[in-house]
Symmetry: none
Subunit: 215 residues, 4 copies
DNA sequence: AATGAATGAGCTTTCATTCAT
DNA sequence: GATGAATGAAAGCTCATTCAT
């Protein structure tokens, strides 16, 4: 059996370099040195550089899937707010990690096309995440815990867009945002979307806010 | 003064190539051919390739400002929904265009760092857009046309994130989405955020689904 | 003793690849796969790749000897034309087969030099074939069946050159020439050399064009 | 205008290396060093290595074409023997020079296929030479200087095959054959083909031989 | 200012060979 | 004997940059 150790070494090394230097500087030479193997070894485990990069993308997707898969179990459990914040935190962590990688792909449309193919073949990718979250929201709509008149699809998009946008520009602008600040930002995002921008009539029960108690 | 014609030629050619082929294949030779000038000419107008790319990014960033600048004039005018949809459409068009370019920058962190500098020096970039939109929302909050208990900052982020996320994955997945479908998607985004996910109490009038009228 | 089976496997596989793909693409990996053994096994039977190629050439050179060895037995038997056509057909078949292999050797002069050594050590090769055919022609000259004023050496060279040239350019130009067309070509070659280009004096019987009987 | 000096430099250097070391050792690195230019320069004048090799083959063909083109002018002039010897000498010089190059091509079938294409597109190559010589012989047949009963095509093939075979094996066996010995060999080749192997009837005029006076 | 040939470092990939299992 | 992962030198080729014209 071919040892998976060198293979994993290469994937990890590539991910590290991708994050720290960007695709353009992630050469096979650099990867091999970072992984501590010979350059030729790369081609025993991957048919070419694109296949290695694809493996990195696929590998990086692992963490987020668990959060998505646990969503159906939370329907009707905890509060909607808690569930959304929990999911959004997982989304953010994942997005923050893969943004430098997936964005790099725009630099090489041939590579981008290849990754696209793989995503669609494996039925993964951003569209799938939106779908999973929308399904959760619809289930909650049926339970009356989410307003029925909004579009679950739109709401799911907005939520994931919110964390994605934050992750994207933390990376793009090299903003140093600590985990607590991120948590607060996501909390506000969820609170805002739960409340909506339309002013409530006075007699209506205010949105409960365990943080600030806005009456 | 150095002829601005060749200079602009080069910037336009580079932008076109960047959009259609990705940073990795935008070579100085390809740029020169696309611009119809000699390869060496590039170095009469830009000290190196990075400076040219930097000029392209700077140039591409100029477009969105008009829509943002018109926002204060709309405070209290039209409906909030109309204003937000109008702004979001402008945001989307802009984002869709620059995403292939700005994302490419992640391939070269040195270049990315240089662009960051420009952004902060010129006080432009995504943070500025969020700020302008948040200011508008706060003004509307003062007029009672937007709920006071939500965070204008969060709401502004959510809106721009919504259009950005759509633009990003239309590009990433090479989705063919027509302008009408985009308009509909943005309409739904605004409607959802206006309504919020929290169910309204029975006696409250539901959010109407048609375009005008939510008084 | 090392198993001759794997060894022969490797030689056969290499010969097949050499013929179908050319020396440049006959890699040790390709040979091993074609032979159905591990890449490393090659080095249990041959000290290096050159020695394997050398074995292939040596092995491929064995075939033509039988036709040459039967020549002395045909002196004075059948017609000269029949004997020459018979020999030329055998020569062509052999040459057509080994041309892709021996020509490949020009790509590597070091290998070529090694093969030269074998040829001279084993007293085989093209010079030996010419010699054997010339000896046959001299024997026929003594019997009066071949003109005495021509050079047997030159005639032998011309005959073998004729079939070789045909084989070489059928291969070089990838000409699809069926066996019947080859036979006809060789028939014409022999007829032309038998007749000679010099016009015969009028009272002399012209060379008949049919196969048998030129008395 | 692009200077042809570097281009010719590269062609000459490649030809020299091809002859002295064989295709396998003719690397772009070696060519550049031999030509005294940078490796990258090669790609300003040729789209890739194959195109350079093709240029070498084409360039090497130059000398022989003149001999072929002068053939029609010699119809009915000098003696047939003189004309054939003259043409065969030019053929040999040409063949001796290009054999290491063209044979090398068998090592890389992809390259071979490309050269084949070029040859057929430009209507050059070995078939064309045979054709030109056959046309000359037919013209002489009409003048009665060549026997009408032989096939001009076969005779032309035999002549060119004769010089080719000699050149091929001088190269293959690294035989040191001086120019005088080559001339003698070609002289004998022509004499043998002119005479034919069929014994002449006694009363017939002997083949005139200005060299040995064979009665 | 404009040109484009020349440069050479650096890229991805191949491949004969070794060696621990 | 057999295996195949690992090696690293070297292959063909690209490309930002320079410079004589």
């Amino acid at each position: 059996m071919t040892s998976n150790k060198t293979r994993q070494n290469l994937i990890d090394a590539t991910e590290r370099l991708l994050r720290s230097h960007g695709l353009a500087h992630v050469t096979t030479r650099a990867i091999a040195r970072e992984a501590g193997v010979a350059e030729g070894s790369l081609y025993h485990h991957f048919s070419d550089k694109a296949e290695l990069l694809h493996a990195v993308v696929q590998y990086s997707m692992g963490d987020f899937r668990h959060a998505l898969e646990s969503l159906p179990l939370r329907v009707g459990q905890y509060t909607v707010r808690e569930n959304l914040e929990h999911m959004l935190q997982a989304a953010f962590d994942f997005q923050f990690k893969i943004i430098p990688i997936t964005c790099s792909l725009f630099a090489d449309h041939a590579l981008l096309a290849r990754v696209r193919e793989i995503l669609s073949k494996h039925c993964i990718g951003p569209a799938r995440s939106v779908e999973a979250l929308a399904a959760y929201l619809q289930a909650e709509q049926r339970l009356g815990r989410v307003a029925v008149e909004i579009s679950a699809q739109s709401a799911a998009e907005l939520l994931l867009a919110g964390s994605f946008h934050g992750a994207m520009f933390d990376q793009f602008l090299a903003r140093q945002v600590g985990p607590e600040a991120v948590r607060l930002r996501l909390h506000e995002t969820v609170r805002t979307l739960l409340a909506g921008l339309t002013p409530r009539s006075p007699e209506e029960a205010p949105i409960p806010n365990d943080r600030k108690g806005a009456s």
